[in-house]
């Protein structure tokens, strides 16, 4: 049952539909086992933005305070997009490679175990 309501045909207003973001979309991103940042981030990006631009201008900015950020060997990084294994294509736009509104990206950096080796 989608809702228990007095009116049988009740529907709710979808607060976070992509149209409400003025040409942008939400992308969530988390760095697994690095909890200096206590939760994954919510980022805002133009729908047609290329992945390399998104990464350089938005993602790097969010994570760069972490002392291991500069040590990441990007050739060994693994990615999940909405729970499925994923290989980002730098020159393709977010939408054209399936990074849609409210998609969740998470990445793993083998060999980097966080500050003090404690997953921080």
């Amino acid at each position: 049952m989608p809702v228990y309501a007095l009116k049988p045909d009740y529907t709710g207003e979808i607060k976070d539909r992509v149209e409400n973001f003025h040409g942008n979309q939400l992308v969530y991103i988390g760095w697994d086992h690095h909890l200096l940042f206590s939760s994954p981030f919510s980022l805002l990006a133009p729908i047609g933005m290329r992945f390399d631009v998104f990464f350089k201008e938005i993602v790097s900015n969010a994570f760069s305070q972490h002392p291991e950020w500069d040590q990441i060997d990007w050739s060994s990084v693994t990615w999940l997009l909405d729970g499925q294994p994923f290989i980002p294509q730098p020159e393709v736009s977010l939408g054209d490679q399936g990074i849609n509104h409210k998609s969740f990206l998470r990445f793993q950096t083998p060999g980097l175990t966080g500050i003090a080796g404690a997953g921080i």
């Binding site: 989608p2 976070d16 539909r17 969530y28 988390g30 086992h33 981030f41 003090a116 404690a118």
Partner: protein, 500 residues
């Protein structure tokens, strides 16, 4: 002829049963339009056992006596500058959370019970809800008055009504009550009357009231004593509604179980903030969150659910998950507030070395392994003059609205994440419990007012975080937020105490 003097029992009967209407020409269903849509079946309202049995005149008399004593103590507290007697100025930040986060919930409880006090077909239940509604309104007033003294001397109090509808972490508490109030009257009573007031209330009351006593805050202690007899009545109402619903019809059992599962989970998520308060914010500790959970839920709640088993009710669905999480949530929550300390309307800080040792002792399985290293790193940065603040907005759970700060219990450094799809959009959650709640009623939760998304939609001013905090939240920058170290609160305290 002199009017016959009625005894209490007669007065109460006249107030309730005899005051009800007979629906001789109007449709009874139209008079109580909320009574059936939740699927609850009531066959006989006369079986309702009134938990309070208070008449209005005795209610006024009791409450007026309590108020008189309470306000006498508030006056004395104020005249003696008793804020100087608290253990440490860090303590006041727990009271800021109380006023900004909990007092508005008392107001929502007042509104919710006033509504249910109109909507039940049974007059005994209506009167009980109206009485509780009055109590809740009184709690709002007395809390505001108890804390108004602190507002004269400390930052972070003055915009509490404005902040309630705007600030990201306050949306957690606000949306919890909005969820309950936008359910039907029976769900509201199971949510607030039973799951929160009966099952979880000690976990709010003990840390705040005992915490106040341990930390020299006599204003809050006195409020607590004044509210205690009300809370006892509220607990009996919570238990009565459960027993009444379960005895009325067997079809009610699965519905009540579903609500207990939902509201026990929602309630324990809400208590994360109490957990961090117990472990991190009280300079003189009462007990750890883990110990509190064991005493007040695992022991007391365990006995309660054993008692309810004869009705076919089992333990709340995620009790086992919360048992595991008790080792982690206070640390994860305080770390979140510490790292987003610029966006908190109270001060945050690194625990002292003595406190770190207390946490190691209380959490031997988890603290040194997962959490102490974070504080060691934070200390290092602070010593270098680079106190850590996280400048990027977090991902929020659609249901509880808390950032995804909780981790997998079999892998405590991995963020827990769940996902659901509805009408072409994705929704994200912190847990199976929150995902279940969404999937039961997605049409309700697609409407979640998620503060981070609202900021990104441009509905909270801006463009930058400083403007949002200052103009939309009305934080006084550098006074209401940021670290305790270097705050005006700290500087004033040192001045009053003559400490350099």
């Amino acid at each position: 002829m002199a009017a016959k003097k009625l005894n209490m029992k007669e007065k109460y009967r006249l107030l309730t049963r005899d005051l009800d209407w007979e629906f001789s020409y109007a449709d009874r269903k139209k008079a109580f339009p909320f009574e059936e849509f939740e699927g609850i079946k009531i066959t006989d309202w006369s079986k309702w056992e009134d938990p309070f049995r208070l008449t209005m005149d005795s209610y006024w008399k009791y409450q007026a006596e309590k108020e008189k004593k309470l306000y006498a103590i508030f006056d004395a507290f104020s005249q003696n500058n008793a804020h100087l007697n608290v253990s440490d100025p860090r303590y006041i930040n727990a009271i800021k959370i109380f006023l900004t986060g909990i007092t508005p919930l008392e107001y929502q409880a007042y509104q919710g019970f006033a509504h249910t006090g109109r909507q039940f077909g049974g007059v005994g239940a209506r009167v009980a809800c109206q009485m509780q509604s009055l109590d809740e309104l009184r709690h709002v007033q007395t809390q505001v008055h108890a804390m108004s003294h602190y507002n004269k001397f400390f930052d972070g109090f003055k915009e509490w009504t404005h902040m309630q509808d705007r600030v990201w972490y306050l949306s957690v508490a606000k949306s919890f009550f909005n969820d309950a109030r936008s359910g039907g009257p029976f769900e509201f009573l199971v949510a607030i009357g039973f799951s929160f007031e009966y099952v979880l209330t000690n976990l709010v009351f003990v840390p705040f009231m005992s915490g106040a006593a341990y930390n020299g805050d006599m204003a809050t202690v006195t409020f607590g004593f004044s509210a205690q007899s009300d809370e006892a009545r509220h607990m009996t109402l919570g238990l009565e509604v459960i027993k009444f619903l379960l005895e009325q019809h067997e079809d009610n059992v699965p519905i009540v179980q579903k609500w207990i599962d939902k509201w026990f989970w929602r309630g324990s998520r809400l208590l994360s903030v109490v957990a961090m308060m117990m472990d991190y914010m009280l300079p003189n500790k009462v007990m750890s969150w883990k110990e509190g959970w064991e005493v007040y839920f695992e022991e007391a709640g365990g006995a309660l659910f054993k008692d309810l088993a004869r009705y076919g009710i089992r333990m709340p669905k995620y009790a086992e998950q919360i048992r595991k999480e008790k080792e982690h949530i206070s640390h994860q929550t305080w770390w979140t507030f510490y790292t987003y300390g610029q966006a908190a309307g109270f001060h945050t800080w690194i625990p002292t070395d003595e406190e770190l040792d207390w946490l190691s002792e209380k959490y031997p399985n988890t603290f040194d392994k997962y959490y102490r290293p974070r504080w060691e790193y934070a200390k290092k940065l602070e010593a270098e003059g680079k106190r850590f603040y996280n400048g990027t907005l977090p991902q929020l759970c659609t249901t509880c609205q808390i950032p995804l700060l909780f981790t997998e219990m079999d892998d405590p450094t991995l963020t827990a994440h769940r996902c659901s799809h509805y009408k072409g959009d994705q929704y994200h959650f912190c847990s199976d419990g929150c995902k279940d709640v969404f999937e039961e009623e997605p049409e309700k939760y697609v409407q979640s007012w998620l503060p981070v998304h609202q900021i990104y939609q441009g509905n909270c001013g801006g463009p930058g975080l400083p403007e949002i905090l200052q103009d939309y939240y009305r934080f006084e920058m550098g006074a209401d937020n940021m670290d305790m170290k270097g705050s005006p609160d700290e500087a004033r305290w040192k001045q009053w105490k003559g400490v350099a």
